[in-house]
C-alpha cells in the first residue's frame, strides 16, 4: 500500500470535531468515487472511532490519506491518541458489548464496516487505530 494523495489531519478534541471528521472523510470518499453504501460505512466507522478517541483517548487526531495498492485505490484513516490505552485489545474486539450502543468501544462492530482494521494499544501507550476502505468498482 502506498500513499496516493495529500493526507489531511484534523484534531479530535470535542463533539464538533467528530462531526468535522465525518465531513472530511465523506468529502474525501466522494472525491475518490465511493458509492453511497461504501461512503456511509466509512463515515459511520469514522464517527465511532473519532468518538472513541475523543471520549476514551482524552482527545487526539485523525489523518485521512488516499492510498493505492496495485491498481485499486482506497482511503486510509488513522486515529491516534495519547490516552490511557486499552488493557485487553482482544477482549475489546470481541462481540461482547451490548447492542444498546453509545457505551463501550464498539470496535468489533466498527471492524465489520471496513475492509482493513488494525489497532495498536497498551496501557500508558495511547491508542492507534488504522482502517482502510478500498474502492470497489460497480
Amino acid at each position: 500500500m502506498e500513499t496516493a494523495g495529500t493526507p489531511e489531519t484534523v484534531p479530535l478534541n470535542g463533539t464538533e470535531d467528530v462531526v468535522r471528521a465525518r465531513h472530511l472523510v465523506r468529502d474525501m470518499a466522494t472525491d475518490l468515487g465511493f458509492d453511497l453504501v461504501a461512503q456511509t460505512r466509512i463515515v459511520t466507522a469514522t464517527s465511532e472511532l473519532a468518538r472513541n478517541t475523543h471520549l476514551h483517548g482524552g482527545g487526539g487526531s485523525l489523518t485521512v490519506t488516499p492510498v493505492q495498492d496495485g491498481r485499486r485505490r482506497g482511503l486510509r484513516l488513522e486515529f491516534t491518541d495519547d490516552g490511557p490505552g486499552i488493557a485487553n485489545v482482544p477482549a475489546a474486539l470481541t462481540d461482547g458489548w451490548s447492542s444498546g450502543g453509545g457505551l463501550g468501544l464498539g470496535l468489533s462492530g466498527t471492524r465489520r464496516l471496513v475492509d482493513e482494521f488494525r489497532i495498536e494499544s497498551s496501557p500508558g501507550q495511547g491508542t492507534r487505530v488504522e482502517v482502510v476502505q478500498w474502492l470497489k468498482r460497480r
Binding site: K136, R137, R138
Partner: protein, 270 residues
C-alpha cells in the same frame, strides 16, 4: 548513437518497420505508419534526453495503447507483440549502415536492450488492461446474477441462484434494500431455492439481510429452505427462530399478499 540514427534516418526506419509489421498484422499501412511515427518520435525524444538511463515509459505507454486498440479490434496478443519486436529488425537494418565497425556490436546490443524493454513494458500494460476488463466483467456478472423483482404491489423478491459468497451476499443485501426503498415495499422475500449449500457464513449473511430489511420497516420472508438444508442448519446451531420462513416462493408470496391486503384494508378504513 541510436538517437542520432533515428534523427537522420527516421523515415527509413519507419518504412522498414511498417513493411515488416504489415506482413504480421495485415493492417492498413496507414494506421501502422501513424502509430509507428508516434512511437519513433517518442523514442527519439526519450533517447535524446540528457543524463543517465533514458526513460522509455512514454514510449511503452504508447505501445501499450496501440496494443490495446489492436486487441479490441481482434488481433491476437502474439501479433501485437510481434509488431514491437519487428522494430528490432527495422532498427538494426538501418543501424547496419551507420557508424563505425567498432561501434556496431555495442549499438546493436543497445538497440536490442531498448526493444526488449519496450516489448516487456508494452506487454505488461497490455496484460494489465485485460485484467481490468476481466475484473469489470466479474462485477457485472455479480450484479446480473442477483436481480430483485417486484412480484406484487409492495412486495419485492430476490430469487437467489447459485453459491452465495460474501461479495454476492453484500450485493443481494444492497439490491434488496434499495428495491424496498424504491418500491415502498412492505414485504421482501429472500428465496434460496436455488442456493445449493447454506453454511454458517451464508446463514449469517441471510440474518443480516433480514435484520436490515426490518430496520426499513419491511417484513422479510426466507423461502425455499430444502429439508436437507434445514437439517444442516439445525446441526450447525444456526438460529432462524426469529425469521419468518416458508417452504416455497409461492407460499411466501401468498403470505406476503395477505399481509399487504390487510395493510390496505386498514388504510382504507382510516
Amino acid at each position: 548513437m541510436i538517437a542520432a540514427v533515428l534523427a537522420a534516418r527516421g523515415p527509413q526506419v519507419l518504412d522498414a518497420w511498417v513493411t515488416r509489421a504489415s506482413r504480421l498484422a495485415g493492417d492498413g499501412a496507414a494506421e501502422l505508419e501513424r502509430d509507428g511515427t508516434a512511437v519513433l518520435d517518442a523514442l527519439r525524444t526519450a533517447l535524446s534526453s540528457d543524463g543517465g538511463t533514458p526513460d522509455l515509459a512514454p514510449v511503452t505507454g504508447l505501445l501499450g495503447d496501440f496494443g490495446a486498440r489492436r486487441t479490441r479490434s481482434g488481433d491476437a496478443p502474439a501479433q501485437t507483440a510481434g509488431l514491437v519486436l519487428a522494430l528490432r529488425e527495422a532498427l538494426l537494418t538501418e543501424l547496419a549502415d551507420a557508424g563505425e565497425d567498432a561501434d556496431r556490436f555495442e549499438v546493436a546490443r543497445e538497440a536490442g536492450r531498448i526493444v526488449d524493454e519496450l516489448a516487456l513494458g508494452s506487454f505488461g500494460s497490455f496484460l494489465a488492461g485485460r485484467e481490468e476488463v476481466i475484473s469489470a466483467q466479474g462485477e457485472q456478472l455479480l450484479e446480473l446474477s442477483t436481480p430483485v423483482v417486484r412480484v406484487w404491489d409492495r412486495v419485492v423478491a430476490a430469487p437467489l441462484v447459485g453459491t452465495l459468497d460474501s461479495a454476492r451476499a453484500q450485493v443481494v443485501m444492497e439490491s434488496l434494500l434499495q428495491a424496498i426503498s424504491d418500491d415502498g415495499a412492505l414485504v421482501a422475500i429472500l428465496d434460496i431455492t436455488g442456493v445449493p449449500t447454506v453454511d454458517t457464513l451464508v446463514a449469517q449473511h441471510l440474518l443480516k439481510t433480514v435484520a436490515a430489511t426490518r430496520l426499513m420497516g419491511a417484513d422479510c420472508i426466507v423461502s425455499g429452505i430444502a429439508p436437507q438444508t434445514a437439517q444442516t442448519m439445525v446441526q450447525l446451531g444456526i438460529d432462524l427462530s426469529e425469521v419468518t420462513t416458508r417452504a416455497s416462493l409461492a407460499d411466501a408470496l401468498a403470505m406476503a399478499i395477505t399481509r399487504v391486503q390487510a395493510h390496505a384494508d386498514r388504510s382504507a378504513r382510516r
